[in-house]
């Protein structure tokens, strides 16, 4: 009787034991952690890692995506004069724009930090506006400012008897204009980063410098800048990536013209890949950004890690 019960009881108990183990496994820390990270992993794998690998494969196909051509697309680009213009302009654009953004950001952050703290919020708030407006839309405003017939800048210049500037039709001025707009959009980011970093420098360092008789310049070069070194490095590197990969401004302002002189990798890839329909060639163009981005990311990562270790 008892045996019968036990035998009958066993098959009933077995699944519950197995379920218990399953629940135990479910409740383990690492299982929960992996489950919580799963959506993030899925997004990164399916929408970043896979497209990247696919992009390499894609760049080795012919225009109709039917035959494998190896490095044909890359070799083709090397022979195109436009491509070298793009390389040159992308580097010029990123370096010049970032230098001016960093300078303006540094000067503006210092100026905000010098005035009485009561008014700082107001000034900071006004200077952040370019960063908040979607760049594609603010560039429309710039486009209208540069418009050949109605240019409001040329009207101002005419008031001072300066001849009209061909903002978007001359190679030099078109390059100047896209860099100007990029500086306008990006400088507030530097301002905010530098201001946050300035405020975190302990006041006693300046007091000690004053007692030692340091001048304002000496304080800047021997206290402020060394203390801000890490944040300046991270911000500049980060901004080089963003500027190098910029698309919106050039696309709206010049569409790459005049004579392809303002194309960046992103706008040229768009022109070749989406507008002309040569997807593999477009993929090859945007892949050329990767080595530069990878090196910059590596350096940023080292800086960020260093900071974490220091804390």
């Amino acid at each position: 009787m008892t045996v019968g019960v036990a035998v009958r009881g066993l098959p009933e108990r077995a699944p519950s034991v197995r379920r218990g183990r399953f629940y135990l496994w479910l409740r383990r820390r690492s299982t929960i952690a992996v489950m919580m990270c799963f959506p993030l992993l899925a997004i990164i794998t399916c929408l970043v890692a896979y497209p990247f690998a696919y992009s390499i494969y894609l760049s080795m196909l012919n225009k109709a995506e039917t035959a494998f051509v190896g490095f044909g697309n890359f070799l083709f680009l090397f022979k195109r004069e436009t491509f070298w213009l793009v390389v040159q302009q992308s580097i010029l654009f990123a370096l010049v724009a970032v230098i001016f953004k960093a300078l303006i950001g540094l000067i503006a952050a210092h100026a905000v930090n010098t005035i009485p703290s009561k008014g700082q919020r107001k000034w900071r708030g006004m200077m952040m506006v370019p960063w908040v407006i979607p760049p594609a839309l603010s560039t429309l405003g710039w486009w209208w400012l540069f418009e050949p017939t109605y240019s409001a800048f040329n009207w101002l210049l005419a008031e001072f008897a300066v001849p009209a500037v061909p903002w978007l039709s001359d190679v030099f001025w078109a390059r100047f204009s896209v860099i100007l707009v990029n500086v306008w959009v990006g400088a507030p980011f530097f301002l905010i980063m530098y201001l946050a970093s300035l405020k975190s420098i302990p006041e006693d360092l300046y007091e000690a410098a004053s007692i030692d008789g340091a001048s304002a310049w000496q304080k800047l070069f021997h206290v402020t800048l060394p203390m801000m070194r890490n944040i300046i490095a991270i911000t500049v590197l980060f901004s080089i990536i963003v500027t190098f990969a910029n698309f919106d401004i050039v696309r709206v302002l010049t569409q790459g013209g005049p004579r392809n002189s303002t194309h960046l990798f992103a706008t040229y890839a768009f022109r070749v890949g989406i507008e002309s329909g040569d997807i593999p060639l477009g993929a090859a163009v945007s892949l050329f950004m990767f080595p530069a981005l990878a090196i910059l990311s590596f350096v940023i990562l080292r800086n960020v890690r260093q900071r974490t270790v220091n804390i």
Binding site: A33, L40, L58, M193
Partner: protein, 300 residues
């Protein structure tokens, strides 16, 4: 007597150096305000000019003799009313709101869960993964838009705004996860120990301890996700070409430009209205906005 005069001399020297400091201070203030005024004029002149143009009559915009920076022949709102009644602007607005809503919701769920796991439940590979998240944040949209074009084409999502709900999280999730890791890591361990002793499970701990304590970070991340999904330009320009599926940035730039030559008033009105939601949000939540921006590099 000599003592007093010596003291006086020392005092006047002291006073002299003090007034010197005052002069320096006043000079620094003067230079700072001068710089700030120049920068503010530079930063605010395009939005100001856009506003002026959007409120002018077409006749005045076309008149080359008048000062373009001022409204001299009367303010008009015809560009705004035209925009709202006779163009697809409101459709773009609705599409953008839908996309932004879903992207923000997806981003916050995914990144809060992942940030909790990565900052508290140390597991095999969690350190590498946190670094990986930061690296993915550095991947720009212009690197992957061409392979994604083929991929979303294969999924049949081309020319529908739902494609944006799918691809925008690649831009928002890594940064939001990264700053949430920073905020969660700054919560003292004693707090979760107390919750653990009270018998809370991980979900309860996340919802009742971590999210309330890290609320400023959560708001900063939400603002970031919203701003990115509102302002993105490359993905919608590449993947969407029908009027009824477009979002504000692309709709304003591509469709409002067509038409007669003197449509600048309408174009500027469209750009300003499209930019209004992030600007208004920023005006009210500036501190969270700035905290989110700066914490990306200073935390973690």
């Amino acid at each position: 007597m000599t003592n007093v005069t010596r003291n006086n001399g020392a005092l006047s020297a002291l006073l002299g150096s003090k007034s010197n400091i005052h002069v320096n201070r006043r000079w620094a203030l003067f230079a700072s305000y001068a710089c700030l005024i120049v920068f503010v004029i530079f930063f605010l002149c395009p939005p100001f000019y856009m506003l002026v143009t959007s409120l002018k009559t077409n006749a005045e915009i076309a008149n080359l003799a008048t000062n373009p920076w001022l409204i001299e022949q009367g303010v008009t709102t015809e560009h705004y009313s035209h925009l709202l009644t006779e163009t697809a602007f409101l459709t773009y607005f609705k599409n953008t709101v839908i996309v932004a809503f879903f992207v923000v919701a997806i981003t916050m769920v995914v990144s809060v869960l992942a940030a909790y796991a990565l900052s508290r439940l140390g597991f095999w590979g969690s350190g590498v993964m946190a670094t990986g998240v930061f690296l993915v944040y550095l991947v720009p949209d212009s690197l992957l838009f061409i392979p994604l074009f083929n991929i979303v084409g294969g999924l049949g999502l081309l020319n529908s705004y739902w494609v944006l709900v799918l691809v925008y999280p690649t831009l928002t999730v890594p940064f939001c996860t990264w700053i949430m890791i920073g905020y969660f890591a700054s919560i003292p361990k004693e707090l979760d120990e107390a919750a653990l002793i009270d018998g809370a499970n991980h979900m309860q701990m996340l919802l009742k301890v971590f999210i309330p304590v890290a609320l400023p970070g959560l708001i900063a991340a939400t603002i970031f996700a919203f701003t990115v999904s509102w302002a993105s330009f490359l993905y919608p320009l590449a993947y969407i070409y029908s009027d009824n599926q477009m979002v504000l940035t692309v709709g304003t730039v591509t469709t409002l430009i067509k038409g007669d030559v003197f449509h600048w008033g309408g174009l500027m009105a469209g750009a300003l209205l499209a930019a209004a939601p992030p600007v208004i949000l920023y005006a009210f939540l500036m501190d969270y906005y700035i905290a989110g921006l700066t914490s990306g590099a200073t935390k973690g």
